[in-house]
Symmetry: D2
Subunit: 141 residues, 4 copies
């Protein structure tokens, strides 16, 4: 399962572009890490909220994938994000976990932290709905 | 107002990184355009949902800014996005408008479209809450 | 279609309890009306936000149902609501329409207005995801 | 603080109407309990999602109030709810806690459970933004 997920993750152009690393994978939970990059900031020098959302969204999607059949495609149906603090730090760590796994839909929560040394501060929280699309529907994960 | 907004937009590292253009500004409404880029895709070759969200989020933030005092900082409090179709096309166009302007909080809706030639298809819709932070609170827009 | 929807609506105990009327039904759009009631208020005498949400949620669910096969069950997957103004007026009118109809999921938007005489004021806006559950899954609408 | 919150809760017409009890209050967390009632159901006999949302929304609002100055009014800005299972059981228990307390805005999460005997099943989860409105703005909690 982990190798399947890491292979899918490696095909996400935007994760490579951002320099995101999959720092942890287990059944029902995924952690992604984004080192600080000046070219991903908003106008005040913090990481742009949309970038934080992109990483959290990916973390939620892959957390959902860990509880789905291996041959489905994973699509984010929707999410909501609250920005809690400006996203600053040496890196942003996004941790997602499955809240409820249905046959078709999986609900995940995710929390993002700005991390500097040993200090973590919550910067965003997400509640997401992810869908398993059967393989005959013509998409591959 | 438009020059102030365009100057702020030009300082967003992530918008420059993505190649986003501010294609329209008026009081209460902003349109941003993202030409297709392979390095902003998810694993199926569509523009990553988080990138679409980033552009929609910026569009909502700047739409809110058009109805705020010029000296405030604009912060996205939260948003919710529904992904309606895979984000494909020659470009993604994000249109945001103010739904309700309060003194502190502005609620905006945004719609993103995948555009190829003359054909537009809705790919995402957003409902966002944006906050005006007074200048003495130490941030600048 | 309209009679099927009205029959389902008549079985919702909470809509009867609240005194909600289905004031309009057409393909892709539903309007519900809630006359003011003191026992549905929050602590300031306005209609409780959760009641407004309940009515908007029902309106979105039935709007989705108008574009679904007649034999499915309709379930709200999730929604997000922004409260725009205190919900006051002689009645609250909730208007929902389908934004995107997929095979399994339908995305709807809904707006609620406080109405007094000829004056309408927006009090809330909703973005909802509704699911069609096939009849063999053991629920009826 | 607790007596202030219980007094405000007692003034919510809709909570009295629904028969909701404030089963726990502490700094940063509130629990509300709704005994099953047939007149609060949707068309399948489960508690209507909007009713669950109303109770969760109130729980989030009061959880936020526990970390606000005593003289402010508490307004829900917005929330998002995922319905996880049909809301059935002898009672619905809604537990909310503060996720992030800012000066003006407080972000809360809430979880609702259907409880029968000793068995709890998650039926909904909420992510909410609550606002503290200063007393000079003319509302009282």
């Amino acid at each position: 399962m982990e190798s399947l997920i890491r292979a899918s993750f490696a095909r996400q152009g935007v994760m490579t572009n951002f320099g995101v690393v999959m720092s942890r994978v287990e059944r029902g939970a995924v952690e992604l890490t984004l080192p600080y990059r000046a070219d991903l900031t908003q106008q005040h020098g913090f990481i742009h909220a949309g970038v934080v959302a992109t990483v959290l969204d990916s973390a939620c999607g892959y957390a959902a994938f860990t509880v789905m059949p291996a041959d489905v495609a994973v699509l984010t149906v929707e999410y909501k994000i609250n920005l809690l603090r400006p996203a600053e730090g040496e890196r942003i760590v996004a941790r997602a976990r499955v809240k409820r796994a249905g046959r078709t839909l999986v609900v995940c929560t995710g929390d993002a932290f700005g991390v500097t040394g040993d200090t973590e501060k919550a910067v965003a929280t997400m509640l997401a709905t992810v869908m398993a699309v059967p393989p005959q529907d013509g998409m591959k994960h």
